[in-house]
Symmetry: C2
Subunit: 300 residues, 2 copies
DNA sequence: GCATACCATAGTCTTATCCTATGGAACTAC
DNA sequence: GTAGTTCCATAGGATAAGACTATGGTATGC
């Protein structure tokens, strides 16, 4: 007997329907059916009468239901108690991709120090695939990454959509143009991040949408390095708006395309099953607030 | 979080030692270590300080321990309540190999009807491998099979050791001999059960121990058919003593070898994890008593 | 200082849990 | 009465979890 079987059992008892119960638990109906059958074999009693389209608790099932509820209630209490324990560690680790870590997460951590002095937030900057793995393996409480994310074990909460801006050196010919189209970029040399970065993929995707392949001349591991090469006039690039810093003013120009509006979506990922500490919840609230403010700032 | 993790956690808390806890749970130490680590990641707290050779509960671990105990206590209550429920079905299904079903289990079921009128015992006669699978899959509450059994998922309880007897037709030349050795059988034709039967393997094993291969002329699916062929003088066979029936008196002769004493051991197998109903326990008590009486009968 | 005891990691294998496809039975609508 | 739909169970296969062994690193005891 395992807890997931008890959860499936409870869902069937509450819905009277294996199919509905399987949907509630995000598994397929044959899976749930098999687990109920295994549970019945293990306890040695039928727990449901299968009456046509209805699953009705047997007497044994009714007896067992009260116990199953109690067990699951105790399980919830066990995790809740750890969460609410006042003296326990208040330390979390968040992850962020390189185009988010210095611009979005670092300021948030700074702010969190003020608003939640008892909460210690550690940070890990890495690429999306590594962050995803780290969240799944419990090394991170949450991570801010770019969409899309496809892993059913993760909770994926969209945060915000931000524009991708064209960035060129101050003396680049595109500076000053009143109209810049995607096609204008077809012959330019691109400076991108390495293949581990989703930004590289986004640039390729954007150019692909406009029927040309970007000419990639430089691959960088850091945004700062990328900005340096662009400032040198070695090529052009595309960066998310959050990467735009006041100190860029002297060496870089951020431009918008006039015929298209590339964007990227940021999301926060967490482990579906991992219990969320109060510290993680608090940080996430700050993150959500910040994202809302950012989105509102773009509209006005 | 699953129940097996809670059980491992509880064992570590009680022993202060991952290695000892893994032994208690019949898994390897790295397995248990990994499960504890997974549990810690899921609840978001360290549950043990690893202090040199000791595993000591952290404050979070101490808090969690009480909850874990309560959860496992509720699980035990859930299964115990189903067992003790007076109005629940009192029906079990037992399995037996063909050389046991008609001689040992059938009489027991008869007797059970008298001593436990509210208990209905169904029976399935099959070969050991099929019975083993049926027990594992929950189709049978228990089964009486021959040793050896090697499956760590099964509880194997030795029942009794019984002699294997040489059986021949009434006019066979071996009848009346004062000494019969294993070697005397080397040139005889054997009548055995099919390969699905463990008896066939036992005959080959016995002959192998005496440095000859049995000449198998007939393979039968039923003991009655085997007895018929032996009675006809088609060959000889070896049967367990329980297979000896009063009605055999007119057509068969059971003999003992004088230079060796082949035996077989019977065991009752159950699923380690499956909860044992009271009905199954009652039947098993009768079975144990019967086996003791059989063993005592052979000694006197 | 060395041997021992312990936990954690890595890599691999086995088993449990998941999937899709589909069958059989009951129910519902026409 | 029949056809279509809904539901659960089975079969076979894929994937992930849990198990294994081998081994490394650290602490302890002699």
């Amino acid at each position: 007997m395992e807890l997931h079987q008890l959860r499936y059992f409870l869902s069937v008892a509450e819905t009277g329907n294996f199919t509905r119960a399987s949907e509630r638990n995000h598994i397929s109906q044959p899976s749930l059916s098999q687990q109920i059958i295994n549970l019945e074999k293990e306890v040695g009693h039928k727990l449901f009468h299968r009456l046509g389209r209805k699953a009705v608790l047997t007497e044994a099932g009714t007896t067992f239901l009260e116990r199953a509820r109690r067990i699951l209630f105790e399980v919830e209490n066990a995790t809740k108690e750890l969460k609410d324990h006042p003296a326990l560690d208040r330390r979390i680790t968040v992850g962020a991709v390189p185009t988010v870590a210095p611009y979005l997460v670092a300021p948030l951590i700074e702010r969190c120090r003020v608003t939640h002095p008892n909460l210690q937030v550690n940070m890990r900057e890495d690429f999306r695939s590594d962050l995803t793995r780290a969240v799944l393996e419990g090394e991170l409480d949450l991570a801010v990454v770019t969409m899309p994310i496809r892993d059913h074990r993760l909770s994926v909460e969209p945060l915000m959509i931000e524009p991708l801006l064209l960035v060129v050196g101050k003396s680049h010919p595109l500076v000053g143009r009143s109209e810049i189209t995607a096609h204008d970029l077809a012959e330019e040399t691109f400076v991108t991040m390495g293949d581990s970065s989703t930004l590289a993929a986004q640039i390729r995707s954007f150019c692909g949408d406009h029927n040309f392949a970007p000419k990639i001349g430089y691959r960088c591991a850091q945004v700062a390095t990328l900005k340096l090469f662009v400032a040198m006039g070695a090529g052009i690039s595309i960066l998310p708006q959050v990467a735009r810093m006041p100190s860029d003013r002297d060496s870089l120009t951020y431009l918008r395309l006039t015929d298209s509006f590339p964007t990227r979506e940021l999301a926060v990922i967490r482990h579906l099953q991992r219990y969320q500490s109060r510290g993680a919840e608090q940080f996430l609230t700050l993150l959500r607030d910040h994202a809302r403010i950012e989105s509102a700032g773009k509209v006005s």
